[in-house]
């Protein structure tokens, strides 16, 4: 491996891959058999964090940034005047193995611009994964990007070696996609996703009969949507996400605040702000539907199409549904406890355990670690000095905002919340 050349390629192809925000390495269990290299623990480990606060768990690169397409929102687009490079299959393998041996990464996330054709590109991505698994006996995590339009046979092979496959929807609406990526076909995204979904279903039913069926994409599929590039509201975005979660069994949908990289007048200007807070609110909403038992419609709907930026979506829901409160902490079921603003799932679990011993009062709740500033207006417990049942939603909101520190303090990477 020529070090200087590899170094240059790595810079170019890591730089071009960084706008893909999916980084999770969780959800796959690969145990190290026959004294090979690596394992996937199921939990995923962030080995470092970039200065923008995102987790680094995988070597995330493009195989090449040559592309025959010209999607307006993409740095790799044909019309963009940037340096181009391409890795050889073996180079990617060597980098992955050597980074992994030093405990820098959990594995590889390989994506690519489309050179020549979808299949030609997909074939090379699969070749990297195959080599890692079969020649290097590598059990770390591999995430391959499915190239829109790739054939069913290649998608099948990809799933045999990769832990996760993803196709980026990028633009949540058909009309937006037509505007910004005229070369792309909506159906080209759906087809590989459909194939992977069906293969996973088939794998699961076969496994029941034959134990040794080779694993197929054990960590499932994910996708990414760019937020704030083509004018959709949060209702459209979260409804699209819901559709993909339901119909394609997606494990994760990622939301990526658009980073302006182009002077194209169809897009926000260079220098305009990245909608980070909005992105964060979308992740919080996603979280509520996946772990807190909320329906998407409760968070956004025809009458409430955009998420509030000044308060989090759970508090926003509570203020719109004051008739559900106050909740009695000593009696309420898990579902309602989880809906109290300022109480997370960890606290819910602690409350359920602790209240078996005695009726809980404010002191107990504070010790358990609830966010008192928000929770105090929405619950009753074994003390009564803080009951304020007669306050209106607007008043409560004003009190909470007055007493909370900078709202940007709450911007946390969604990856982090998983493990707290």
């Amino acid at each position: 491996m020529s070090f200087e050349r590899t170094l240059e390629k790595l810079k170019i192809l890591a730089d071009a891959a960084k706008y893909d925000v999916s980084c999770s390495s969780s959800g796959s269990k690969r145990t190290n058999t026959n004294k090979g290299l690596g394992n996937a623990t199921g939990m995923g480990i962030c080995h470092s964090y970039t200065e923008d606060g995102r987790c680094v768990s995988l070597l995330k690169i493009l195989l090449t940034n040559h592309c025959i397409f010209d999607c307006a929102y993409c740095v790799t687009r044909k019309s963009n005047d940037v340096k181009r490079a391409a890795f050889k299959v073996q180079e990617v393998v060597d980098l992955t193995i050597n980074f992994y041996r030093r405990n820098y990464i959990e594995g590889l996330f390989l994506s690519s611009g489309i050179f020549k054709s979808a299949d030609y590109t997909m074939e090379r991505l699969v070749a990297v994964a195959k080599k890692l698994r079969l020649e290097e006996n590598f059990n770390g995590y591999i995430h391959l990007k499915s190239i829109p339009g790739a054939s069913d046979e290649l998608m099948r092979e990809a799933g045999l070696y990769a832990d996760r496959l993803s196709v980026n929807i990028e633009i949540p609406t058909k009309s937006g996609l037509k505007l910004l990526a005229p070369d792309k076909n909506f159906e080209d995204f759906i087809k590989p996703m459909e194939k992977v979904k069906n293969e996973i279903i088939q794998y699961k039913s076969e496994k029941k009969i034959i134990k040794s069926t080779p694993k197929y994409a054990p960590a499932g599929q994910s996708t990414q949507m760019i937020v704030g590039a083509s004018g959709e509201n949060d209702f459209q975005i979260l409804k699209t996400a819901e559709h993909y979660y339901k119909n394609f069994n997606l494990k994760r949908v990622y939301y990526s605040g658009y980073v302006p990289i182009s002077y194209d007048n169809r897009l926000p200007n260079i220098g305009s702000e990245v909608p980070m807070l909005r992105e964060n609110r979308l992740y919080q909403s996603d979280w509520l539907t996946r772990f807190y038992g909320f329906q998407t419609n409760e968070i956004v709907n025809i009458n409430h199409q955009n998420l509030d930026l000044d308060i989090d979506p759970k508090l926003s829901w509570a203020l719109r549904n004051m008739h559900e409160f106050p909740v009695d902490v000593n009696r309420a079921d898990k579902r309602m406890l989880a809906r109290i603003p300022g109480i997370g799932m960890k606290s819910v679990a602690k409350i359920l355990m602790a209240r078996k011993y005695r009726r809980l009062n404010w002191d107990h709740l504070k010790k358990i670690g609830i966010a008192f500033n928000r929770a105090q207006y929405f619950l009753v417990c074994d003390s009564n000095q803080f009951e304020k049942r007669d306050l209106t939603a607007d008043k409560i909101k004003a009190f909470i905002l007055k007493n909370s520190t900078s709202k940007y303090d709450t911007i946390l990477n969604p990856q982090l919340n998983l493990f707290e």
């Binding site: 730089d15 891959a17 004294k35 470092s48 200065e51 923008d52 980098l95 405990n103 990477n413």
Partner: protein, 258 residues
């Protein structure tokens, strides 16, 4: 009534032997102290407790019957925090568990139950961080070497993780604060002590000790780390929350350019 201070050897078994002693003699005014961090209390009578595997096993087994697995694990984790006075929080917790007929190990309204849980959580967080932030460097002897300096004594907790992950390479993880390490030689995993040469600088990679290719990969990694950053989204506060500064010393991506 006179206070009694039980002195033990710093091991978990030693600590449990003290607990056994407390139960055996029904002591009430008692403090447990590690002999290496001993602070002499006035008006207290010292008693050296010999570590006894049979006794410590009995306490541990009894505990497992009266508390969930998670709770007994938390006790072990909290013990490894080495925080001043943690032995006495744990003693109080264990006494509370044994005093009651029903299970009380999840009564988070009891202060030592809650404190133990909180300390264990901190230890667990550092365990995860160590699994993430260990950076191996290839030595001239073809051993992947890493040095760490964790706040808590987490080496025993991370051994399994690294053993199953790096089964086909020789490696050492060395805790330079506590001066002991883990060594995997492709067959077995052992605790070791090492002497380092005087000119060995733990935060530098010197050609005297490390393989030539090591420099290339550190440079590749650091450049990768820098190019993957999106400057429009810079958020150093968040960055530091995730990667506290005390860990930077030994992270190759945090070193000045080579």
């Amino acid at each position: 009534m006179q206070n009694k201070t039980l002195i033990y050897d710093g091991t978990f078994e030693g600590f449990l032997s003290c607990v056994f002693y407390v139960f055996e003699y029904k002591l009430t005014q008692v403090t447990i102290q590690n002999e290496y961090v001993l602070q002499n209390a006035l008006f207290s009578e010292n008693e050296n407790i010999v570590t006894d595997k049979t006794k410590s096993d009995r306490v541990w087994q009894g505990l497992k019957q009266r508390a969930s697995r998670i709770s007994s694990t938390k006790i072990y984790y909290a013990f490894l925090s080495e925080q001043p006075n943690v032995e006495n929080i744990l003693l109080d917790y264990i006494q509370y568990i044994f005093k009651n007929k029903e299970k009380v190990d999840t009564d988070f309204t009891h202060s030592s139950v809650l404190k133990t849980s909180q300390i264990a959580k901190n230890v667990s967080r550092e365990k995860h961080r160590m699994e993430a932030f260990v950076r191996f460097r290839l030595t001239k002897d073809s051993i992947y070497f890493a040095n760490i300096e964790p706040d808590f004594n987490v080496l025993p907790l991370i051994s399994k993780h690294f053993k199953s992950r790096y089964a086909d390479q020789k490696w050492v993880i060395y805790d330079i604060k506590r001066n002991y390490g883990l060594y995997y030689d492709l067959q077995t995993l052992d605790f070791i002590n090492m002497d380092f040469p005087d000119n060995f600088d733990f935060s530098k990679t010197s050609t005297d000790f490390f393989a030539n290719e090591e420099f290339d990969f550190q440079k590749l990694w650091k450049d990768y780390f820098d190019s993957t950053n999106i400057k429009e989204r810079k958020n150093m506060k968040l960055h530091i929350r995730h990667v506290p500064k005390r860990y930077w010393k030994y992270l190759s991506e945090k070193q000045p350019n080579l």
